[in-house]
Symmetry: C2
Subunit: 338 residues, 2 copies
DNA sequence: CAACGTGAGTGAAACGATTCAATAACTCGT
DNA sequence: ACGAGTTATTGAATCGTTTCACTCACGTTG
């Protein structure tokens, strides 16, 4: 049924070696022979079997990117950046959505391992994952995406944005507007990004000599729109006096959820509640009240990840892991001023 | 370097066949032997080489889904539906973003072909693509997603929503509100979905005895937010008298773009311009002015696609292609009434 | 006790492309 | 016309798994 190089060789009256040469090193095959082979390929509808190639080569041409939530435009933008870099080297990007679930993440990593991927980019749920270590130990390039370089992390490369600074920018902006109490909404029990952003908020408060009392933490179960709605519900349930009139959100999806809930309750933004998002996704500017948000250079993040991955692959065992960190910036819109 | 079954066999003191049995048919291996093998596997950190398995098996365990725009939440939701179905059968979903570019689409299909995927779901840019036909001819299940069953299309299965009806619902709603002129924005030069939705708008106009004059078509270059902004700019540039005060958009991203532009010009929605979107993505409800939109059952669409794909694979050559069509519905929000 | 079954394990062959040392077929210069 | 040098082609070996016909050792049975 399946057409193989053998069939092509037979039809063209050459050896399999020659067919392979036509496929991989066309120069070095006499034009006349080449045409004959190409004719046979076309006539038979031959298509290379990638499994066989990979088996022989000992590795594939894929790289994988495991994200927390494929429905979050932030990650698709980063993916675009990685894809650009990978494509230039003839590699193909395989996107995997962990839905912020450690088991799924593990499954995907297992898949990647079995597929002998060339490298893995990941924004992990569980960075202590066995297989992740396993990958790294086997010399498969692993790049942590969207994580600021962890202290002693010498197992892999990373690209990230300074999340503490991002949180601080957001909070300082609100403090400058005169807010005395600031809430932070995010999944800070599980995601380091959220932990850092919260730390930034606290740092801003501290730098103005304000203690813990001025901050309220709204822990969420995830970082999606629905989680934002429920966080806002909890916020609004606080006694009026102690309720912060400003919220920093761990990402824009949360912010959109908070916004919906707040408006739905008949309150006004930013008059009654000011909101700062994070990521500045395309929809942030188009929201009911355009969102003030912390911008991250998404495309650059992806490009840098691809660059690091390729470099590690290139350098082999002698490679020294690198950590690239970008700076966030604040975009001010109507959700905080006006 | 790489640990293979051979190494495992040697360490466990059994033959490679037995190792394979432990891996694939654990019952039928004496517990004592099995433990020895499993021990060796753990000790050596053995990991199956999927390329070799696939080569031997003659097929992979992947299915591919080629979308027009991975940043459009509509597609990620459909993907989730497909993923559900595929996962249940032990298959892995591979997402590919064509960016509405025929060349990219073709590249991905080539990849899939070489990988010997088990099936392909696709929302095509170019449904006449050679490789797509090639896939189908080779007996690889192909499912067209988000396309109403084309007339004589007997090459593959399809799942879709009645786009003509969707367009009609949108337009009828506006006509009921008293609008006399209706604009349609979308990439109707390339995307059949958009062509159909436009046809629906026209049908609605015709059913009220209104001729072509009452419709204005704003052709866009794609279906993203930026395309919506430029379409709106063109709309607003029309002489006041002839300018429609209602727009049906080919999808919600376009609608969000239109909304942004219209508001940015200081006009009001829906007072000055009423807007209807399409898809009802999560962000539609959270927009500056919550969008009236045509809902499609995204998850069901994906699930149905997976079901069709698996059925075709199951039935083999005797399979008769099926076409599943869902009905759209309208969700009315503030962008049209209020 | 010979014939038969059964359960456990073996090992060579196969999957399809690539590689590479070994030819074969040329062309030159002398 | 001979050897050296170049270019084009060959085909066996290889990658790691799975499969399957086979062996072997033990009962069971008539």
């Amino acid at each position: 049924m399946a057409v193989s190089v053998k069939d092509v060789a037979k039809l063209a009256g050459v050896s399999v070696g020659t067919v392979s040469n036509v496929l991989n090193r066309p120069t070095g095959v006499r034009p006349q022979t080449r045409e004959r082979v190409e004719g046979a390929i076309a006539q038979l509808g031959f298509i290379r079997n990638d499994s066989a190639r990979q088996l022989r080569a000992g590795r594939s041409r894929m790289i994988g990117y495991v994200v927390l939530d494929a429905a979050n435009p932030f990650f698709t933008d980063v993916a675009r950046g990685i894809d650009e870099g990978a494509r230039a080297e003839g590699l193909v990007l395989f996107l995997a959505d962990s839905h912020q679930d450690a088991d799924r993440e593990d499954q995907f990593l297992e898949q990647f391992l079995e597929q002998r991927v060339r490298g893995v980019c990941i924004t992990p749920v569980d960075s202590g994952n066995r297989r992740l270590l396993s990958l790294a130990e086997r010399g498969v390039p692993v790049v942590m995406v969207d994580r600021a370089p962890a202290s002693q992390e010498d197992r892999w490369c990373s690209v990230g944005v300074d999340d503490v600074l991002g949180g601080e920018l957001a909070a300082r902006h609100l403090l400058d507007l005169g807010h005395e109490r600031i809430a932070y909404a995010g999944d800070s029990r599980r995601l380091p990004q959220s932990v850092d952003r919260l730390a930034g908020v606290r740092r801003a408060l501290a730098s103005r000599g304000m203690d813990e009392d001025h901050g309220v933490v709204l822990h969420t179960e995830g970082m999606r729109v629905a989680d934002g709605r429920s966080a806002a519900a909890r916020l609004l349930a606080l006694p009026r006096r102690r309720r912060p009139r400003a919220v920093v959100c761990g990402n824009d999806l949360l912010a959109l959820g908070v916004l919906q809930q707040v408006i739905g309750q008949g309150l006004r933004v930013p008059a009654d509640v000011a909101i700062v998002g994070y990521d500045d996704i395309e929809f942030a500017a188009a929201a009911a009240v355009p969102l003030t948000s912390v911008v991250q250079p998404r495309l650059e993040l992806g490009r840098a990840a691809a660059r690091l991955l390729l470099r590690e692959e290139d350098e082999g065992p002698g490679h020294v892991h690198e950590h690239v960190s970008f700076e966030p910036a604040l975009v001010v819109r109507a959700s905080t001023v006006g």
